[in-house]
Subunit: 445 residues, 2 copies
C-alpha cells in the first residue's frame, strides 16, 4: 500500500457504469469506491487503483453497474399465492380466491416466510429497495431488516376488520407504533396504507392526513386502478376518487402521497397531481394482467409528475422482476402514447431507480450512483447472446437484458448477491419452505 | 436389457409433461420415448422404464417438458442490428437508420453470421422452429440446416431493387428455385414473402398467388401493421389492404397466407379472415415498441382464426425470447380485450406452439407432444425462486418462467441444449463475432 493510498471497504471496477444522473450517461472503465456503506468516489478505474486501497476489490469485465432497482409497490408475502388463481375477472379473483385464501392462511408465519421468499427473488433480480403493503407489516419489517434490504413498509388501513386489526383506529395505532419504532432505522421506512378510496371512509383518511403531516410519514394508496372504480365513486360521492382525496387534504405539499395504478385519468386529475407533492406508482404488468386499464405514463412525465415503477404482488404479475417490469413499461408506454419515441430507454431506467427513490422520499439516500449516496448497486453481465452486439448500452439493458444476468447486488455496501448466487439467504431452504406452504394450501383448498 | 425391452434412441423422463393437446393437460412423472427423431411413445415413467431400453436416458426432476416453441415471424440476421436505433418513430427508424444500415452492411456474410447468432439465442430460449423473412434466404436456409433447427425461410418480394434482387421477377425466380431445392427437406420449408401491401403491386401479388397455389408454398406478409397503413391504402386504392389481397385471390382456401401484425382490424376484416385459410402472426412486443397498435387476439381466436406468435426481428423487440413474448401476449391480450379472463395461460401456450405449427402448415410435424410427431421438445427447470410455489404449472410457465430456465432443447430428437448450454454452437465465438460486426458498423456509422 502506497502512502498516498486511502483505505476503503470496497472498490468495484466495471466495464460500464450508468449513474442514471446525469441522464443517459455511460462511463467506461470506471470504479465505484465504497466505504461504510456509502459511495465515496466515482472515477476512472486507472485513477481509482492509484488512489484507493480496498479491503474487497471486484473487477467486473463485460458488466454494467447500475443503481439498485426500486420496486415501489407490492405485496411481498403474496408470493406464497403466486399463480393460485389466474385468468379470472378482478372481482371473482378477489372475492372467490384471494380474500378467502388470505382469511384462511395469512398469519405472522405466512408473512415471515412469504416476505423472505419475495426478498430473495427481488435481490436475485436486481432490486435493492421495495415497498410493501400487507398485513403484519411489523413482521415484514423484521424480515427486511434481517435480510438487510432497504424497504418501505406500508401499514394497511381499512374500514373493516382483517387478520391484522379490527377497525381504523386500531390499524392507525399499530401503524404509528411501527413508524416510531423504525424512525431512525437506516434502511427501513414505515408508511400509511389506506387500501383504496372505496375501502376507507373519510374519517380515517383525515386521520391519516393528520398523522402523515405531523410525523412526516409517506402515504401509499391504490387509486384509480380501473375506470369502474372512478365510475362507482362518481355515482356514490359525485366526485372522482382523486378529487375526494384532494378535498380531504391529501394532495397538499406536505403529504408524500404515492398513488398506485392510476389508469383512469382525465385532464383534471393530471392537473391536480401536478399541483401536489403526490407521485404515481405505475404497475404495468399487473394492470395488463387484471385488465385494469392503461396509465398515461409519458403524459404524466411530461407534466413533471414523478412516476415510479412497481411489480405489484406475485399473485397478479406473477413475478417480482423489475428488469422485466421496466421493459414492459417502456414497451407499453409507447403503445399507450401512440408514439415510438415515448418512454425511451433512459426514461424507463430512471423510473425504475430515481423515480422510485423520489416517490418513496429517499432520493437523498439512493436511486442514482452519486458520491454521498448509499452504495445500493447492482452489476449485470452483458456478455450474453441476447445482449449482443451492443450499440447503446441503456437500450440493451431496458429492451434485451434478462434478470438472470444480474450478477451482483450490494445494499448499503453489503454484498447480497455474488455471481448470481445469494450470499446470505439459503435458496434451497426457501424453495422447500415455499413448496411446503403450497402443499398445505392445496390440500385445504 | 430384458427380453421385453425395446431399444430406442432416447428416453426423456420429467416431473411434468405438457403435451398442449389435450389443452390444459399436465402429465405427472411421464416419459417421452424418442426414436429416429420422432416421438414414439408418451407414457408413465414407471411403464417406460419397463418397456424401453434407450441409448440416452434423461431423468429431469423438477423439469417440465413442452413442445418446442415456434417463432412464427422474424428477421434473424437483424440480430446484428440489435439496439442500433431505438425509441424512434417508425418511419424515421426505417428511413434514417435501418434501411441505410441494410444497404451498407447486408450481404451473404452478414446473413450467415446474423442468422447463426439468432439461432443460438433462439435455441437457448426454447425455440425449435422459426420463420425468417430476410435477404439472402438461401444463406439463412443453409445456416439453419447446419444448425439442425426447423425453419421456414420466407423469400422477400418487393417492387424495388434491394441487395438480393432487382425486380419482382428476379425475387420470384430466386424464391421458387430455393423452394424447389428444399422441397423434400425434413426441417426446412421455403415460403414467399411479399414484404407488405404498400411495397408490392398487384402484378407480383398475382404471380405469388399462382406460384403459391401451384407449388403449395406458404405466403407470409406484413399486413395491417398500423392504422396509418390502412388509411393510406383506403386513400390510394379505395380499399383496405386485406380486401385488396382478397380481390387478388390471396385469401382463398388453397393459399396458406400468414398475415403478420394485424393491429388495425375491423369486423369486415375479421369476417374475411374467418372465411379463408389465412392465419395471423401476432408480434406483441414489436407492436408495442413501434407503437403500431393492438391486435385483437382473443376476438380472432373466438372466431376460430389461427393465431401464431412471433418476436419480429431483434431490431424492434429487442430479443428473440419466445417465453417473454408468450407472457407479453397473455398480459396484453387481457388489457386489449378488457377482460382478465381473456387469453388464458393455456391459450397463450397453445399460440406459441400449436398455433405456430398450424400457421406454418406443419402441425402434422410439430407443435404438440404427440406420438408420431417430430421430437421437438424443450425442458424447463421449474425449481427457481420466481416459479415457486406452484399451484398451476401452465400459469407458472406463462406468467413467471424466465427463458434462462430453459435447460434442454431437442429438435427432431437431436439435443441442441443441455443444462442450459448449447451443445453444438460455440457461444464464445458467436459473441466475439457479434462484437466484431458491431465495431465495424459503429466505426462507419
Amino acid at each position: 500500500m502506497s502512502k498516498q493510498q486511502k483505505p476503503i471497504d470496497t472498490l468495484i471496477c466495471a466495464s460500464w457504469t450508468i449513474p442514471v444522473t446525469p441522464r443517459g450517461e455511460v462511463f467506461e472503465d470506471f470504479a465505484i469506491a465504497v466505504h461504510q456503506g456509502r459511495i465515496v468516489d466515482l472515477l476512472p478505474e486507472s485513477e481509482a487503483l492509484q488512489r484507493y486501497q480496498p479491503d474487497s476489490h471486484y473487477t467486473l469485465e463485460n458488466h454494467a453497474l447500475l443503481p439498485g432497482l426500486i420496486n415501489a409497490h407490492g405485496h411481498a408475502s403474496m408470493s406464497l399465492f403466486r399463480g393460485l388463481a389466474d385468468d379470472l375477472p378482478l372481482m371473482e379473483w378477489l372475492n372467490d380466491h384471494i380474500w378467502p385464501a388470505e382469511a384462511r392462511w395469512v398469519n405472522e408465519a405466512f408473512v415471515a416466510d412469504g416476505s423472505k421468499l419475495a426478498i430473495a427473488e427481488m435481490i436475485r433480480s436486481g432490486t435493492t429497495c421495495f415497498s410493501d403493503m400487507y398485513f403484519f407489516p411489523e413482521v415484514a419489517a423484521r424480515v427486511a431488516q434481517e435480510c438487510g434490504i432497504r424497504a418501505q413498509l406500508v401499514c394497511p388501513v381499512l374500514d373493516f376488520p382483517t387478520v391484522w386489526a379490527s377497525k381504523p383506529e386500531e390499524y392507525l395505532e399499530k401503524s404509528l407504533k411501527l413508524a416510531i419504532e423504525y424512525a431512525e432505522h437506516p434502511l427501513i421506512n414505515v408508511g400509511l396504507g389506506p387500501h383504496a378510496p372505496y375501502t376507507v371512509s373519510d374519517k380515517p383518511l383525515i386521520n391519516i392526513r393528520d398523522i402523515a403531516s405531523e410525523y412526516d410519514i409517506p402515504v401509499q394508496i391504490h387509486l384509480h386502478e380501473t375506470q369502474q372504480e372512478v365510475d362507482e365513486a362518481l355515482s356514490k360521492d359525485q366526485q372522482r376518487p382523486l378529487s375526494r382525496l384532494a378535498g380531504l387534504g391529501l394532495l397538499s405539499d406536505d403529504i408524500h402521497l404515492q398513488c398506485v395504478h392510476m389508469t383512469a385519468l382525465n385532464e383534471e386529475d393530471i392537473a391536480q397531481l401536478k399541483g401536489s407533492a403526490a407521485s404515481v406508482v405505475h404497475c404495468p404488468e399487473s394492470n395488463l394482467k387484471l385488465a385494469s386499464g392503461f396509465c398515461p405514463v409519458q403524459t404524466l412525465l411530461d407534466k413533471g409528475i414523478t412516476v415510479a415503477l412497481g411489480t405489484d404482488g406475485a399473485a397478479s404479475n406473477n413475478d417480482l422482476d423489475m428488469i422485466g417490469e421496466m421493459r414492459t413499461a417502456a414497451l407499453l408506454g409507447k403503445a399507450v402514447a401512440q408514439d415510438a419515441s415515448a418512454l425511451s430507454a433512459p426514461t424507463a431506467l430512471e423510473m425504475a431507480t430515481l423515480g422510485g427513490a423520489r416517490a418513496l422520499g429517499i432520493d437523498d439516500q439512493c436511486g442514482t450512483l452519486e458520491i454521498g449516496k448509499s452504495a445500493d448497486i447492482i452489476a449485470v453481465d452483458m456478455a450474453r447472446l441476447n445482449t449482443l452486439p451492443s450499440y447503446d448500452l441503456i437500450s440493451d439493458i431496458v429492451y434485451s437484458l434478462s434478470s438472470s444476468q444480474v450478477a451482483y447486488n450490494w445494499i448499503a455496501g453489503e454484498l447480497k448477491l455474488e455471481k448470481g448466487q445469494l450470499t446470505e439467504l439459503d435458496e434451497h431452504a426457501l424453495r422447500e419452505n415455499a413448496i411446503s406452504w403450497s402443499e398445505k394450501i392445496k390440500a385445504n383448498k
